[in-house]
């Protein structure tokens, strides 16, 4: 039972997504700095420069670490994902309890040929992102087939239980009747 790593394309996509967000933040901070140049105390300006440096460092390091830690697992019984930057979180969902499977891809994902799968149960949901198109489609298909198979298996077991349960009851009734008849004969 081994967790699978993402394709290299996923790391590039992670970098692009992080950089887009980082650039937006940096532009906002720089704009604040220019607009409030005269009125801003030196301490505040220092904090802003510090935050900008942290954002740059984050956008250079974080995607690589995220990529190295990102793993997913698909078996006959479960769908799981392990991800995180500092805190690594493992989320596990039994396939039997899935209610909904959603496959989606935004503009950045489409540019890299990647998709995201969101599976929902009655109590929660997990997201597995940065999956190659073919892999995502195969996973979605596998999940659909497994949900149906599990439903059929459970129905069969239920029917068998009902059948054997009835037979068991009938056997008990027959035993009782036999015992009763034996009792009557014994009395005779």
């Amino acid at each position: 039972m081994d967790y699978r790593k993402l394709n290299k394309k996923a790391m590039t996509c992670m970098y692009v997504k992080t950089w887009i967000a980082s650039i937006m933040w940096i532009v906002m901070f720089v704009a604040c700095n220019i607009l409030l140049k005269g009125e801003m105390p030196d301490v505040v300006r220092g904090i802003i420069y510090g935050v900008v440096i942290l954002i740059v460092m984050y956008s250079l390091i974080a995607p690589k670490i995220r990529y190295e830690r990102y793993r997913f697992l698909l078996t006959e019984e479960e769908f799981a994902v392990r991800k995180g930057l500092i805190v690594v979180k493992t989320e596990i969902v039994p396939i039997e309890r899935l209610h909904k499977i959603e496959v989606s891809s935004g503009p950045v994902f489409r540019a890299f040929g990647l998709k995201e799968i969101k599976v929902t149960t009655a109590g929660g949901e997990i997201n597995v992102s940065y999956l190659e198109n073919e892999v995502a489609d195969k996973i979605a298909e596998h999940l659909k087939i497994r949900i149906n198979t599990i439903a059929v298996e459970e129905r069969t077991v239920q029917q068998e239980n009902e059948l054997f349960g009835n037979e068991h009851q009938e056997l008990q009734v027959t035993d009782l009747q036999d015992a009763h008849m034996e009792g009557e004969h014994g009395a005779e």
């Binding site: 500092i86 690594v88 009655a122 949901e125 599990i150």
Partner: protein
């Protein structure tokens, strides 16, 4: 085949008007000065009757507008039970048809508030097995008693379930609580802060009365403190309400089990009647708030959709009981959850580091306060009781924090039963949650750098319930514990 369409009982129009009616009363009271002035002007002949009526007319117009709107909504809303669904059509400006699959209905419950008891109607509450609407009742229908019984019977027949005569008062119940038991339950489950408030209030009253007795002008003293007492009584109102609310909610509590259903009824002002399908019970919680824990008692609540959705409402199965009595009564109502307690794995001692951030915060605040009081010498606190209060807080808060952390280590644990997981949480209070592995919807566990270093993890178990009950966080345990839960939750009936 479509059945006859019907509407809610017409009294629902007045029931929905309740909020506006109270708004009008509040408006009238808050504008009492203007009203008295207006009547004075009328008596003096400085204002005409028409002018006075115009003022009252605005309030009446608002009530009328809401009344007419509610009447239209009532007149245009039709309910019908079709083959496999309940359809609620509302043909206002926007035409809307709400279809609820009968197979997906998890609960049909009945409720009666005071108004409904006067007019003889029942509110039928339908809940579906959906996580998205788990926090609220999906459909509420108000019908006359006979109609409500018929409707419930009709729906339950379609669900292939036997309809129990829950409204029959003569039925014998497995568990019944008398008024005395309910009062004791209120005491056992009282919020310690509320109790401290009440004790402080009583002590304050005694001190104030003593000071009056020693003084010469007794009457003046009483008049002086009367204003403060009225203000405090208003504050105490909410505290007292929290203490006695449960008495009215669980008044005349009765429960019984028949086949795969549990029937519950309770309530003084609002009479509630619940039917819980045993297979829809996703977990059972045994809760001991601080006083209950000290006195060795606990109450039992079930976690399922449809009961306990409303605000300030608990899906209570048993009120506060000693453990042996609780198990005895639980075996009558829900024997599926009377299980020998598995070995409890206690919270890992290595996780003691996790208490450090909280300690830094608590001690930091206390030390900063102390430093600030010393630094500003000019702020002289002359009143002795304020000094005592500050000293108590500065010593009490860190002590309470340390004790809570020690108790947390003693309380928190996890028991890996064969079919059921036992999760024990709490510090001063204690909550034991029994979750069948087959009801776990998702398992999540995480490790930060420190937890990885010690081979520990912290997790959350998700089940189908309302928002608060669906998330069950665990304490810190070895990674193997979560692996064991993982393996057990994947086992299922029918697996080949």
């Amino acid at each position: 085949m479509e059945q006859n369409k019907f509407r809610c009982h017409f009294t629902v129009i007045l029931e929905n008007l309740g909020g506006v009616f109270w708004f009008a009363i509040v408006m009238l009271i808050s504008e009492m000065d203007s009203t008295v002035e207006l009547i004075g002007l009328l008596l003096e002949g400085k204002a005409t009757l028409l002018e006075v009526l115009a003022g009252i007319g605005i309030v009446l117009a608002i009530i009328m507008a809401v009344l007419i709107y509610n009447w239209i909504v009532w007149a245009k809303t039709w309910i019908s039970v079709q083959d496999e669904a309940i359809v609620i059509e509302r043909n206002l400006l926007n035409r809307k048809a709400n279809t609820i699959g009968i197979k997906n209905i998890s609960n049909i419950n009945m409720e009666q508030n005071i108004f409904e008891r006067i007019v003889g109607t029942y509110k039928i509450k339908l809940d579906t097995n959906s996580a998205t609407t788990a926090d609220k009742t999906d459909v509420k229908i108000v019908l006359s008693k006979n109609m409500a019984e018929q409707f419930k019977q009709q729906v339950m027949l379609r669900m292939n379930e036997e309809c129990e005569e829950v409204l029959d008062e003569k039925v014998e119940y497995d568990v019944e609580y008398k008024a005395k038991d309910i009062i004791m339950h209120c005491i056992y489950t009282a919020n310690p802060i509320s109790v401290i408030f009440i004790i402080a209030f009583l002590v304050g009253c005694i001190i104030a009365l003593n000071s009056i007795n020693t003084g010469a002008a007794v009457l003046d003293g009483i008049i002086n403190i009367l204003g403060s007492v009225i203000a405090i009584v208003f504050v105490m109102g909410s505290v007292l309400h929290s203490l006695i609310r449960d008495f009215f909610v669980y008044y005349n509590f009765k429960a019984r089990r028949k086949e795969n259903k549990i029937y519950l009824t309770h309530g003084f002002f609002k009479k509630r009647q619940y039917t819980i399908a045993v297979d829809k019970v996703n977990a059972v919680e045994m809760v001991s708030p601080i006083f209950s824990r000290i006195l060795g008692r606990q109450y039992v609540k079930v976690v399922c959709i449809g009961v306990g959705d409303e605000e300030n409402e608990n899906a209570m199965l048993l009120l506060s009981e000693k453990t042996d009595h609780m198990k005895e009564k639980l075996s009558l109502l829900l024997p599926e959850f009377v299980i020998a307690e598995p070995d409890i794995i206690k919270r890992e001692k290595k996780s003691v580091w996790s208490t450090i951030p909280g300690a830094i915060f608590v001690f930091g605040i206390c030390i900063t306060t102390l430093v600030m009081i010393n630094a500003f010498n000019e702020i002289e606190i002359e009143e002795m009781w304020i000094r005592i209060l500050i000293a108590t807080l500065l010593v009490g808060i860190p002590v309470l924090y340390i004790v809570s952390q020690i108790l947390n280590f003693k309380t928190c644990g996890i028991g890996l039963g064969e079919d059921v997981l036992l999760l024990v949480q709490g510090s001063y209070s204690k909550t034991s949650t029994w979750i069948p592995y087959s009801k776990i919807q998702e398992l999540e566990y995480s490790q930060g750098p420190i937890l990885r270093r010690f081979g520990l993890a912290k997790g959350t178990i998700y089940i189908l319930a309302s928002m608060i009950d669906s998330i069950n966080p665990t304490s810190y345990f070895k990674l193997e514990v979560f692996e064991a839960i993982h393996q057990r939750m994947l086992l299922r009936k029918g697996k080949k």
